[in-house]
Homo-oligomer: 472 residues x 2
């Protein structure tokens, strides 16, 4: 660590790391401070990646159970789940990714990496406290806050019990819970609910809102709800959690149903996933004029805080909280700070995947959001029940919806519920970002048999129906 | 069947069926004649779809064998392959798809479907002979030939033996061959070679060219070659087949190696996949001025034959022989014939997937083809060894290459070798078709963790390296 840097970047997750690398690669002297044990942030260590690793074993378990239907006969249906091996695979993969990131950083001579915390003394200086206990003052010209977020704990009586876990703790659990009650049916609750259901847990989802996955297209969320219920997951929506009580028989989650009736569920483990809050404490923001509230640090269109030389990206700024969003912000900011033309990402081009089973992929506006914004829409649909690739894979439950601005037929949103939807979102993100019309999707030659044909097919149907012209 | 039609469409495969439907949906009286037992053509009954159904069982078998690594312990490693069940699943799925196509057609009142053959009497009349033996003359204003192709049998001594099969026969085989020799290492040979290798066949690939998968990007084909060899497939390139001889001990395939040394392989089944030829015989082309040779029917840029009212699409026109290419041609032609603006597909925007393991997806020009065309190229690469989604899936062998025109950075080709490459080709096809630059791929927000991030990552690396600018 040196005494003076061009840039201080606080947080080595998906927002801070790419920004630090881009700045240092351009020759700037950068200090990157990471408070965890390795590079990668919540996404790598406590969020997207570990949950997807558990999900991969669940996906493969589901396929094992279907083997008969594909002409593959197991000697017995008793597949033993080696939970320790699954957790070991997870740890090894996280370690591998973090180490690879570290090695990439080490190759950049003007980038220093410190494991510890950073606290602003004023708008040009910070105190770095390393995990080894060393304390050093550094001076910086500009700074980027990329400190991410942490699970929130709502004020519910009894949730301090050690078996009431946040998602980070549940991902580390050393056994498969027998009865798992999940409070919060957002993306994390839905994903982990299905994963543990597949592994044999008896899963209950309790959601305060009238439906699961609030911001997701209503039709797709509804299809997933039906699928989850059919697989034995108990879903209660519109409920109000009262308290959690521990007894010899387990954890009792008391709540009121939507009609006001009191009810309860019994669990041995409770997962609490009701939201996340930005990591702001300890940054020394009180020594600056940087504004913030419980939703995040206040920034302008260029991600600049009230202090002109200090910026913030990713979860620390608030919603939307996605790794790829943080990366897009971090990279745009780095370009901007280097004096290069930069387009800051707009929420109307953001993408997301919910790794449910099947996956939900989404880019841009939902039909409802577009209509709420006063946009006259045309929605082109495709049902994967008739899709060759989906039928071959034995995964033909699915629906694609392409939302267009009616007059121009420009694609402003894409929403898919189908196994593999995540990898279809590249085309969707490109179409939305480039403002391409349905004709472009219909005219691109999509190879057969792939799921991507759905884009061309939906576009053709949409064009035929609305314009009374022959398919492209 | 009526006596007079606006359009006679010969062939109910991926070229003819969409064209017939588009024309009839627009109110034209259309007769569609299919010589097979159901709608779908080679693709559905004898090609893409059945091979992918066998491959799906092979893919699942491979995953079963890997179960341990994902914490799933089978009681024993003895998975019995129920070949009959696999073939039954295949037949059921083909039937389902063909029946669905028939039902879609039936809903269009101006479309008649006849199962049989059509022969031109002259340029306005044809004789339809149905499978039931009925014979009827019909008059048409315009006609579309979409008769597809069939496997070629090269002039090799001894290949008339019933155990020397074309791909159509091998897909119907009633058992898994013990020793399978495949003559021809094109897409079909490679796909089926890997499938039967996974099912336990001892597989040999004999290829006349110096390498497998001639038109595919050399680097990707080379990576696949190494993978196949490592899985125990015996690959011989640069060889010249002399003859096949049958003895009590099996089929002997005699050939000369690239250095001129005579050699042989022993098989119980030989697969011959050295090419396909257009189905032209029996069409009565001699009663017209339509030109053709062994490569296909001669057409102009509008797919028009030498007879101004007769057109041809798909395999009957020759290379490239792909279902999606035939569909793109058929739909463009229908629009053209309806007097609507139509862009006929150009080979520089065509796409293809080789369903090898891992898949190879490709769109547009290879690096070599672009350079041969005098285009100054920039190739942006991405190695999936570091990819989050690929690592999670346990499928991190892979490479993506994005070929750009250097000055404009417009994407002119995309080539990927990775499991799931097929579904990445939608974005590739769109980028190439719309002529988008690397900046568009880098700037679109690809969701994390998905394989599609590779497009943004490759684009960023390409931009950073060549333009010395910070990543987008």
């Amino acid at each position: 660590m040196k005494d003076v840097y061009d840039f201080l970047v606080i947080g080595g997750g998906p927002g801070g790391t790419p920004a630090a690398m881009a700045l240092a690669t351009a020759g700037k002297r950068v200090l990157l401070v990471e408070k965890g044990e390795g590079l990668g942030g919540t996404c790598l260590f406590k969020g997207c990646i570990p949950s997807k690793i558990l999900r991969e074993s669940a996906r493969r378990l589901r396929e094992l159970r279907e083997a008969d239907g594909f002409g593959l006969c197991l000697p017995s249906r008793d597949v033993r789940i080696d939970w320790y091996a699954i957790q070991q695979r997870k740890r090894a993969l996280l370690q591998r990714r973090s180490e690879a990131a570290r090695q990439r950083l080490e190759k950049i001579p003007t980038l220093d990496l410190a494991y510890g915390t950073a606290m602003f003394s004023d708008t040009a200086r910070a105190v770095i406290r390393t995990h080894e206990g060393a304390e050093q003052r550094v001076q910086f010209s500009q700074a980027i806050i990329a400190t991410g977020s942490a699970p929130s704990r709502p004020p519910i009586a009894g949730i301090d019990h050690p078996r009431v876990m946040d998602s980070e703790a549940l991902l580390e659990i050393d056994h498969i819970p027998e009865r798992l009650v999940i409070i919060g049916a957002g993306p994390i609750g839905v994903e982990l609910g299905q994963v543990f259901n597949t592994f044999g847990s008896q899963v209950t989802l309790l959601e305060a809102a009238p439906r699961i996955l609030g911001p997701v297209d209503r039709e797709l969320a509804g299809l997933l709800h039906v699928r989850m219920a059919a697989s034995g997951i108990d879903i209660v929506t519109g409920c109000k959690i009262d308290r959690v009580a521990s007894t010899g028989g387990g954890l009792f989650v008391f709540y009121h149903e939507s009609d006001g009736q009191p009810a309860h569920k019994i669990a041995d483990t409770v997962l609490l996933v009701t939201g996340r809050h930005p990591n702001i404490d300890g940054l020394g923001l009180e020594n600056t004029r940087i504004g913030h509230d419980r939703h995040g640090i206040e920034v302008n269109d260029h991600l600049q805080t009230a202090e002109p030389n200090i910026y913030a990206v990713g979860d620390s700024v608030g919603q939307p909280m996605f790794a790829h969003w943080a990366t897009a912000q971090g990279l745009a900011l780095a370009r901007h700070l280097l004096g290069q033309p930069a387009v800051f990402p707009g929420p109307e081009t953001n993408s997301a995947v919910i790794f449910s089973e099947p996956e939900i992929g989404m880019v841009g506006l939902t039909e409802a959001a577009a209509e709420a914004a006063g946009i006259d829409t045309l929605v082109a649909k495709y049902n994967f029940a008739g899709d060759a690739r989906a039928q071959i894979a034995g995964r033909d439950a699915g629906l694609l919806k392409i939302v267009c601005e009616k007059e121009s037929r420009r694609v402003i949103g894409v929403h898919a519920w189908v196994e593999g939807a995540g990898d279809l979102m590249g085309e969707a993100a490109l179409a939305v970002k480039a403002g391409l019309p349905l004709e472009a999707l219909a005219g691109a030659i999509h190879p057969h048999p792939t799921l991507t044909e759905s884009f061309a097919q939906a576009a053709r149907t949409g064009l035929t129906k609305t314009m009374r012209i022959a398919p492209h």
